[in-house]
Symmetry: C2
Subunit: 472 residues, 2 copies
């Protein structure tokens, strides 16, 4: 493909994508593809000779699009918003098109320095003090793993430089809540702590971790000869956007000298709204935090921000320094390879830079406020309707709901819930994610796709009533 | 930005990128930016209001481009080729533009199924048997970490479900060579093994690991009450593209029941050439391997392929199953979140799919053969020139060279080497990476950027002679 063929094919693709975004509202939100259906349409072996770009584009339309659940659809209420602002999409295109790689500062200085600047912009936008340093990672799962590795090394006096966790005299323990994200447990297990050393701390009726229970667990472990190492709190849990009391967790963690990591993957975007910052009050007492601009804020996936108070510690745990990566500038610059797991890094800062500049902070705030208002309106409708209930506080844009017909409970209620949610999803008119809360299935309505306006929430509510209240 | 504004801005950006690729040969290869120079041109605070897209594009040209080292430049001979084939770039654009996310199969079935198909295409293209299952990860660093975590769990009988590494009765040991990539040591330390349990095995004069030394180290450790766990071999090391003897390593690993992971990040691309497959002969005896299509093969970064013989083991180590990610199809499909560290995944398969289809296997092979021939030609010139030597075998596209003026050795030789390499890099006409081999600096010439033809290698050789042979 010559430069001019790239130009022509690129224009075709841009048009196709602009058309896709313009018509996505007309597509069924959830893919209707059966398992194996996409695979069956693809050749089992690679082509020996070249294929025309037009054929590839045609297959994108014919085979791929019907196999997608459309996250950019205005009636996408599943999982969480994973918005790709058009400007951010273009920023990512610039990154891929330039094709430069950050191995070290020298391997493309602008890649590192734009990242330093925009992560600092985000720090200011979310009201964090200047004591925080940020870096872009792929996902919150990775950030939480990095956090627990750093906690492990701080608590063990850099055991990695000696016998590792295998030489632990006092086993290290980690604390979190049953409502924390599955990646916390995964990170603790992969970091080698072991399930026996992971404590699931009790939560209150609003699904926030109980600081007194944390304190008690830490004391119990210390008395038993274990070494409390880290606690992971969450600002905006996955199931219900519940809020762990960060200030109280920080007080407990501080008193015992253990690491506090805050998972604000979802709610972190809302911290650009001053009126929401009470949700992570006390955040300055944490050691590390993650927030994902690739969720609600609208920066094309993947763009997860990891902030730390002590970057030197991070670098000490993560650094490598082979000869082929050394340069004369190393003493004066940041080498971001030492700020996370992978060596190579994309120029991900461009998509964040493009998005913030093209939108401006005020427009980003305005959109998030629209979504918060929609969530409150929706929760009000649910609360007012007979047989329906809102099951958890609604501090953000996720509403946990259940419809309970008279006399239906237990397993039958679960079947009813999963049944109507499935009918909504199969209708193609909206997409919802069922989840378990307090041992029973309910339905999460996650509001905040870029294109989602009040009318889409209204339509969803009508559809939900229709599917849940119909007599089966 | 409306759909039509996106269309217009997208066309502008495509044109800008096509022009960039067309004129990149005229830019200085290595950035001439001083530390902090890019940062100083950017506002310290984010904009409150929106900025026109034209301003952002203008800054890309004015601030970013001068701060880049141009990896797509025909005279980029640094690090390793990190090629972005135009078709692959467009595949990545499609991924970002669609903005769908793979959390589970159901969250976008085509994302998973296209990935299954193209990783299997690559398996066939590289001559691997059908016993291998592949998945796309971000980088080889991550793949190697995943491999060592899986090795750890197999050797410890899934200690993560109990006391983790902290309850190890017999410390687990890991084996690699001094020529393996820095990510191997990093992965071993992060996985918790500890530096005391990482053995650096002796290599031969061609920088390949000595199987007898590996065998001896394993026996020594076992006799001392330790538990040998994993060996990491390399096909194409970073410094000199040296080849560990995979068949022999596999025999030793097999005899002792330990995990063999093969890092073919660089050389894996060459395995699409049947005449190169002797380089990893015995690969079927490995447990896992990584190869990076985002290097020489030309798929836009990041696209690292991780292949395993036993995917059930991988899933057992990596799986999570929160309620909000369950679906009725789970028994019939692959949920790739359980095949690596992060939960969320981009539709990275598109860029690999686009690249293979637009190129065809034969054209990919032809380009790699061009580069192999250029490397041999270049090595011949170096060997024939007085004062110059080729320091390591040249099985692939990297040539390790040194120029030694009469009577110059030791530290003075290092200064001479770093001096002329720096002059080449600062000239802007080519980019090279110095590295240490056998305790002395030398210069790696890594051939294989998409645009690199014989004429560029010839020009490099003239420039090297000019800068190294001049009297200072």
């Amino acid at each position: 493909m010559t430069h001019d063929e790239f130009r022509a094919a690129g224009h075709q693709l841009i048009d196709w994508l602009a058309d896709y975004r313009a018509r996505v509202a007309e597509l069924p939100v959830m893919a209707r593809t059966a398992p194996g259906e996409v695979k069956a349409q693809l050749p089992a072996a690679p082509p020996l000779g070249p294929e025309p770009f037009a054929d590839i584009l045609a297959d994108l339309e014919k085979i791929v699009v019907p196999g997608l659940s459309h996250w950019q659809h205005p009636s996408f209420f599943g999982y969480f918003p994973c918005n790709g602002l058009p400007a951010s999409v273009l920023g990512d295109f610039a990154s891929t098109g330039l094709g430069v790689l950050g191995l070290s500062w020298q391997s493309s200085p602008a890649l590192t320095e734009v990242e330093e600047v925009v992560t600092d912009w985000m720090r200011q936008m979310t009201g964090l003090s200047a004591a925080w340093s940020g870096v872009i990672q792929d996902t919150a799962s990775t950030c939480t793993l990095v956090a627990l590795l750093c906690a492990r090394e701080r608590a063990s006096g850099y055991s990695l430089s000696r016998g590792g966790l295998q030489a632990a005299e006092q086993p290290l323990t980690v604390y979190t809540s049953a409502h924390s994200h599955s990646s916390v447990e995964k990170a603790a297990l992969l970091a080698g702590f072991g399930r026996d050393n992971l404590r699931v701390i009790e939560h209150d009726s609003q699904y926030g971790m109980k600081p007194a229970a944390l304190e008690a667990a830490i004391r119990r472990d210390a008395a038993a000869g274990l070494k409390p190492c880290a606690v992971v709190g969450t600002t905006g849990t996955t199931t219900s956007t519940a809020l762990d009391p960060i200030a109280e967790l920080a007080a407990v963690a501080g008193a015992h000298g253990i690491w506090l990591h805050v998972d604000a993957a979802m709610a972190g975007s809302a911290m650009i709204l001053p009126e929401c910052r009470w949700m992570w009050q006390g955040i300055e007492g944490a050691d590390s935090l993650v927030l994902n601009p690739h969720k609600w804020l609208g920066v094309a996936f993947d763009c997860s921000l990891y902030y730390v108070r002590d970057p030197e510690h991070l670098v000490r745990v993560m650094s490598t320094n082979p000869s082929y990566l050394r340069s004369g500038s190393d003493a004066q610059v940041k080498n971001l390879r030492d700020w996370g797991l992978p060596l190579g890094r994309r120029f991900r800062a461009l998509k964040l830079w493009f998005a913030i500049r093209e939108q401006g902070v005020a427009a980003l705030q305005q959109r998030l406020r629209r979504d918060l208002a929609n969530a409150q309106w929706f929760a009000d409708q649910v609360r007012a309707a007979g047989g329906w209930s809102v099951l958890a506080p609604v501090p953000l844009q996720t509403v946990c709901v259940r419809h309970q017909p008279r006399g239906v409970d237990g397993e039958a209620l679960d079947q009813h819930t999963l049944g109507w949610a499935d009918r909504v999803n199969r209708s193609g008119q909206a997409y919802l994610t069922p989840a378990i809360l307090d041992g029973r299935w309910m339905v999460r309505v996650s509001i905040g796709a870029l294109a989602t306006e009040r009318e889409h929430v209204e339509a969803l509510w009508m559809l939900m009533r229709q599917e849940a209240e119909r007599s089966d």
